[in-house]
């Protein structure tokens, strides 16, 4: 959790820069001369003989005693533009290139990373990984065993994008944001708007000793946008943010989000919150919109079903899980009602966690984590799948990875990260409006807001962006100062209505943290609107 004395945090200005630096993880290398060292005659990343270098790396690892090895050469880029009101705040680019090698020797892992991308350089990194693996071996410890995965001799994949955002001129990006800000500020009391465009491009190349070689291009796009309204007498201020969810798509997604066309509506929502009625504390039926519910799924379903958390590996940081021990909950824990089906996948079009092959060389499958309300499976990597062997065999399920192994940079070692984890639509063709119409006394919540959950994922509290009072099946006006408190299994078991296929939407976390040292992840959560009965709502507008 503690970011150690981060010498990069003191770089110039703006939260965007801080975020970019936190995300950047600049290179591992020969400290004073940190740079990608290219082979003679190579001047650009695109000119690197990547396959040969990856083969050299895994060959060197084998020669140094590895029974299995993989190597990644990647280029990780970010581009962002930040504005407030009618002006630019910051624009920037980050770029990081290098190699990461894993070696399995005597059943123990070693990892090394380098920016020396010459043949000698990658081989040296591989030998280093093997040497570290040898040092990490603890006599008597159970050896790492990898679930098998079929070789992919020449895989290529790219995110579902049409226009690479890195090709769009910065002035076009800035103008779009400033135009949107201007629209929002046409609303009375809307005095401030902060908006950003944030893009990620990862060129990821992977090879392992199974004979797999893959090349992938990942693009993700995000538009943080917050309009703030201030009352004339300074007695209140209210914001509307998180208006557009991140996606694994390109510039065409930004255009389709129609920031300029929608900004006024977002501004009006911020201003209306100034006049909204403070909520009365008590128990309400909640009708949660997909733009809100995705985050509740992320925190209370996706994180607790990570197998390493359930096994105690994150105890000193993110915590463990109430969904444990696996042998006592798989097939038995009643997580929610029968209509609750939670799917893990990395294949949904435009998902932030969507990928062709993971950093174990596995093509991720689509699997149910919760089936008809019962805990059915965990998120796994190749190392983890065998931990569940007896459950899988008993239930005629294959002992194979679900493809959830990811590193956030070439310089980070890959580990289990969540896939897209989604609430599947119900059989009945109903939508948000139908759920509201069926509710006598409730609160409808749109947009994700404040969120907090304990280290085993039992007790959570969520705010939101816009809150609607529901009376007799109709929206009766806006509320403010709303947050709900929940105990995870009770909350999900109170779900009694969910939307159908047509009401399915995806939300996403762009910077999800896990591990020590921390790595970032990006993941989508699809869901339909859902109703939860009799949930405890508090009023957060304290005065003293």
């Amino acid at each position: 959790m503690t970011t150690r004395r981060d010498f990069l945090r003191n770089t110039s200005a703006a939260a965007a820069i801080a975020a970019a630096n936190a995300a950047l993880r600049p290179g591992i290398a020969n400290a004073l001369t940190a740079m990608p060292v290219y082979p003679a005659g190579v001047h650009e990343f695109e000119e690197l003989p990547i396959k040969e270098l990856l083969m050299d790396a895994i060959g060197a690892a084998k020669a140094a005693g590895a029974t299995w090895a993989d190597a990644r050469i990647g280029r990780y880029r970010q581009n962002f533009v930040g504005t407030r009101e009618k002006q630019i705040v910051q624009v920037g680019d980050t770029d990081s290139i290098g190699l990461g090698v894993r070696a399995l020797v005597n059943g123990a892992w070693g990892f090394a990373a380098s920016q020396n991308l010459t043949r000698d350089g990658v081989a040296a990194a591989a030998r280093e990984a093997a040497a570290i693996a040898k040092a990490n071996r603890i006599p008597g410890a159970a050896p790492v065993v990898l679930a098998p995965a079929p070789a992919v001799p020449n895989g290529t994949w790219k995110s579902s994008y049409e226009i690479d955002p890195f090709t769009i001129p910065v002035e076009q990006k800035a103008q779009m944001l400033i135009d949107a800000n201007t629209e929002a500020m046409k609303v009375a009391n809307v005095k401030f708007v902060n908006s950003f465009l944030f893009f990620i491009r990862e060129d990821r190349n992977y090879a392992n000793t199974d004979g797999t070689f893959t090349t992938q291009t990942v693009i993700r796009s995000w538009v943080p946008f917050t309009a703030t309204a201030v009352s004339a007498d300074f007695s209140d201020f209210q914001s509307r943010g998180n208006v557009v969810q991140p996606m694994g798509r390109g510039w065409e997604f930004i255009v389709a989000s129609n920031l300029v066309g929608n900004a006024r509506k977002w501004g009006e929502e911020a201003a209306e919150k100034l006049k909204a009625k403070p909520v009365d504390v008590g128990r309400y039926d909640l009708v949660l919109h997909p733009s809100h519910l995705w985050l509740t799924i992320h925190e209370s379903v996706a994180h607790p079903t990570e197998l390493d958390r359930a096994m105690g590996y994150e105890a000193n940081y993110a915590g463990t899980s109430f969904v444990a021990p696996p042998e006592k909950v798989l097939g038995t824990l009643k997580y929610g009602p029968e209509l609750m089906n939670i799917q893990g996948d990395r294949s949904q079009d435009g998902g932030c966690g969507t990928i062709g092959w993971d950093d174990d060389g596995v093509k991720p499958d689509t699997f149910l984590i919760i089936k008809n309300g019962i805990m059915h499976d965990y998120q796994t990597s190749r190392e983890q799948a065998p931990w569940l062997e007896s459950y899988y065999k008993k239930n005629n399920m294959p002992v194979k990875s679900h493809g959830c192994c990811t590193a956030d940079n070439w310089s980070s070692v890959q580990f289990q990260r969540m896939p897209n984890v989604s609430l599947l639509p119900g059989a009945k063709d109903q939508k948000w409006e139908d759920l509201i119409a069926a509710t006598d006394r409730g609160i409808g919540i749109v947009g994700d807001g404040s969120f907090s959950i304990d280290q085993q994922r039992y007790n959570a509290q969520f705010g939101g962006q816009v809150f609607y009072e529901i009376k007799g099946g109709k929206i009766a006006g806006m509320l403010k100062d709303v947050a709900y408190q929940m105990k995870t299994p009770d909350f999900w078991n109170s779900m009694d209505m969910i939307g159908g296929k047509a009401s399915y939407e995806m939300g996403a976390s762009f910077f999800d943290g896990k591990g020590q040292p921390p790595q970032i992840g990006s993941v989508s959560h699809g869901c339909v609107p859902a109703r939860f009965r009799n949930i405890n709502v508090i009023n957060t507008g304290r005065k003293a």
Binding site: G27, A31, H43, Q87, A112, A141, F237, S452, Q455, R542
Partner: protein
Amino acid sequence: MSRSLRSLLRGGETAADPRVMTREQSQALTDRTIKLSRAEGIQVNVGGGYTANIRFADNRISTAGGVSTAALNIQSSFGPKHAVVSTNDFSDAGLERAVRQSEALAKLAPDDPESMPLLGQQEYENVNSYFDATGNLGPEGRAAAARIAIDACKAAGDLKAAGYIVTGIGANAVGNNKGLFAYQSGTSANYTLTVRTVDGTGSGWAGADHPDWSQLDVKAVAQRAIDKARLSKNPAAVEPGRYTVILEPQAVGDLVQLLAFALDARSADEGRSAFSKQGGGTKVGDKIVDERVTLYTDPADPQLLSNSFDGQGLAAHRVAWIENGVLKRLTYSRFWAQKKNQPPDAGTNAVKLAGGTQSIDDLIKSTPRGILVTRLWYLRPVDPRTVLYTGLTRDGTFLIENGKVSKAVKNMRFNESPLFMLNNLEGLGRAERVAGTEAGGDVVMPALKVRDFNFTSLSDAV
């Protein structure tokens, strides 16, 4: 790393450590970059060093490694246009590419009406945050420290240790084409440990942090986490509500650091801060918390030893934000400072709440009924109008009855503001560095005893 890791790990390095850029090397690099510039203004930030860690869980070492990092940020500006490019390619060609890219981006960028000219040369405090005990520490030293906790838990049979030790040596520098150059090197050492009981009903946390590894009492950390794990077994439920609470320094740091982040002058002037005054203006000069509260930054404070300049090279000095309960000052960015005719501030990243003289035991003894809190977790803003946060207690929450810790209680969620809490002050302990706030940074806090701390629900999490 490959070729050089082993040679880097040889002991015996001193302040002239080859893993860390010296002042001269940093200046040579920034000068080299500045010479490439064709912009009106160029600012170069360079940072890097060597960080090594060991991670363990389930009474076993899970990962250990070392990472050398270095990165360079270039901000080019043409009048009110500017842009930043970051690179880790320090070759002539790499620097040239990054400089040209930042210039191209800056020219394309719309005007920033709030852009400020680069700073000229500044006077900096002399902060020595480099310690040989950290610089000379090798992987064996970290492993031996980890083994103290692992071996004790293994021997106990009913305990599992999970922890993380990370140490670093590094340097950061800023230079620009207006004659400014700032440099600071330093070391860091941080240890956090969670001990859980095998039956899953108890969990105890302890941590230590200081630039000087020799100041970390790793045996005491292990003992504290073990004691707390055992004491916290089979917690009882108490009714959520308002309690007198003793927060250990870590828990105070978790919450009060967030107050330090809320001290922005501009937001207050604009009416969107807890420090805005109804009707206009700010609360500067008002008594906002108990008079025993003094919150300040000071890079040279021997407990803080924080960076003596910010990302633009602006010198950091001692500033009291709250003094004897009165809000003395809010933080001014350079732009807002100029607009409001104020000196600019280097920020509140490193912060200290002045302590009292009481021990935690003293605070407990004076408490007929209350809750002792080890640390807080997953703090998130709920209402910026009052700096209200929610979060939960974690890894050691106990009931105090009649001046003694009587039993373990279940963790609870709170909805509380550091402002309200510091108004309800009953007692202060001695200030110490804390090891694990969610935002990180140099944070020094005392234990506090406060009344009416607002717990809103129970958690079954252990």
